[in-house]
Amino acid sequence: MIKVTDLSKNYGSVEAVRSISFEIKDGEIVGFLGANGAGKTTTLKMMTGYLVPTTGSIEVNEMNIMNDTHEIQKQIGYLPELNPLYSEMRVYEYLEFLAGIRKITGRAFKDALARIVEQCGLQGVVHKNISDCSKGYKQRIGLAAAMIHDPKILILDEPVTGLDPNQIVEIRGLIKSLGKEKLVFMSSHILQEIQATVDRIIIINKGEIVANGTSDELMSNFKGNVLLNMEIKGASSESVEHIQAKLPSVKFISMNETNTVQQVQFEYGKDQDPREDLFSYAVDNNWSILKMNPHTTNLEDIFRDLTTEGGGNA
């Protein structure tokens, strides 16, 4: 279990992380979402012992990162953001080097290598120079390096950045399978990636946590409005634009007309559903409804709302 309490990090006068707190339980896959520069990487660097927090504490399985740095590092596997690798080494040499630091040598290393090669699909490249491997393979090598000691906790910083869609699906599958037995904390700014992979999402903005919950919880807490896209025939612009006089919950947004079909956009509160009333209103005003399509809130809307100026409704 990881417990972060009032964690802050200042770079000079810049506050990169401001008093954040959260917990992650064993067996959870948690996504750490935020725009570039929001403080994701700084937080992960503190959790892995690379940076020292300015204030606050990080506890991993009841050990403190300041007092038991090496004990915690033994339990953590970390994939840094840019996945740095020694390009002149062969894949197995690199893994052997990292395993050596973690005191996995001889027979134990051979077993660990066999497991990790199988798990990360490195069969074809294990004897190759790292510089000769494709980006997708390099990412797998980075993951293999993070997991060579079979850690209980995996911290992955942007694990799928720069990969093609097929590679993303593969890495996502791998992370999901790992999440069955390990605590996985992964950062990303790719929303679809997070939504598809994790159990819970923590959103950070300008160094502060602005949301923490499952994607369903985030959506149900989201106070944003629903946009309703309609295609209508026979509507007068007056009846459309002044709909709020009859239906107070519905707000007119825009109207365009092409080939006698009007594309109209209305907005209403997330807790209200005035579509039946709207249907009756259409009948009363002799509209023919061709299409009625409410745009449901997705993670992207929530993310944009929480991480842009004036946001923060969730």
Partner: protein, 237 residues
């Protein structure tokens, strides 16, 4: 200890997986060999003094070149982040790096032993004691310069900058006793004690004095300590 060995092995692999080590060893052997053989048969003396005079000059540029990438490269390509999140003490990392750089210097020094065998085969009355102490002095000087180079490599992520800082620091300690005439008499003695060449010349003469040994080991220890502190301070920035 095991971690120092692991870091050392990786660094040696890195030297020999690239042309770096081979280029260094060949040029080191050629340069020192050229200057040695140039005068060896002219003077007709059974000693390696010429070699022992030329190697410190070769060191001035070769050791910063060998050590410039030791830590700067890790900072540059980002592997320092991976290293720093492993259960590894900073001193183990720095010592592994230093020893790898020093080992390469020793290999370069070992390559010059061909001149020793030439001397033994053609010379008479060879003073083995002086030759041993000469090599010991060069090894200690090599270790000192490698420690300085390792420190220079830790303060930047740019290998060229690390090289320039390394050459500058090494030159300062090498040139100190050549500047004694410009130094006030009251501190001249102290300045001389800091000069690496002063201690080397003592050992090269065949006098293995504990003061000289203490100087070299203190210098090595001091710059390794500085390197460790430089790396540790970064975590707090």
């Amino acid at each position: 200890m095991l971690n120092i060995r692991t870091i050392f092995r990786r660094e040696m692999q890195s030297y020999f997986n690239s042309p770096m080590a081979y280029i260094f060893l060949v040029i080191f052997a050629v340069v020192s060999g050229y200057f040695f053989t140039n005068t060896f048969f002219l003077f007709g003396q059974s000693d390696l003094r010429v070699l022992f005079d030329i190697i410190p000059l070769v060191y001035l540029f070769f050791i910063p070149a060998v050590s410039m990438g030791l830590i700067a490269r890790e900072n540059n390509i980002g592997t320092m982040e991976t290293i720093s999140t492993l259960p590894l003490n900073t001193y183990e990392f720095v010592l592994g790096k230093f020893l790898a750089g020093f080992c390469l210097i020793l290999l370069g020094l070992a390559a010059t032993s061909i001149h020793f065998f030439t001397l033994v085969s053609v010379g008479t009355n060879v003073d083995f004691g002086a030759i041993f102490s000469g090599y010991l002095g060069l090894a200690l000087m090599g270790a000192t310069f490698t420690a300085i180079g390792t420190y220079a490599s830790s303060v930047t992520e740019n290998q060229v900058v690390a090289f320039i800082i390394g050459v500058f620091l090494v030159l300062v300690f090498y040139m100190l006793d050549k500047t004694l005439v410009f130094v006030p008499h009251s501190i001249a003695g102290m300045v001389q004690l800091l000069a690496v060449d002063y201690h080397l010349s003592n050992i090269s003469r065949g006098v293995i004095d504990s003061r000289n040994l203490i100087y070299f080991f203190s210098m090595i220890g001091f710059f390794i300590f500085l390197t460790i502190k430089t790396l540790e301070v970064r975590r707090w920035k």
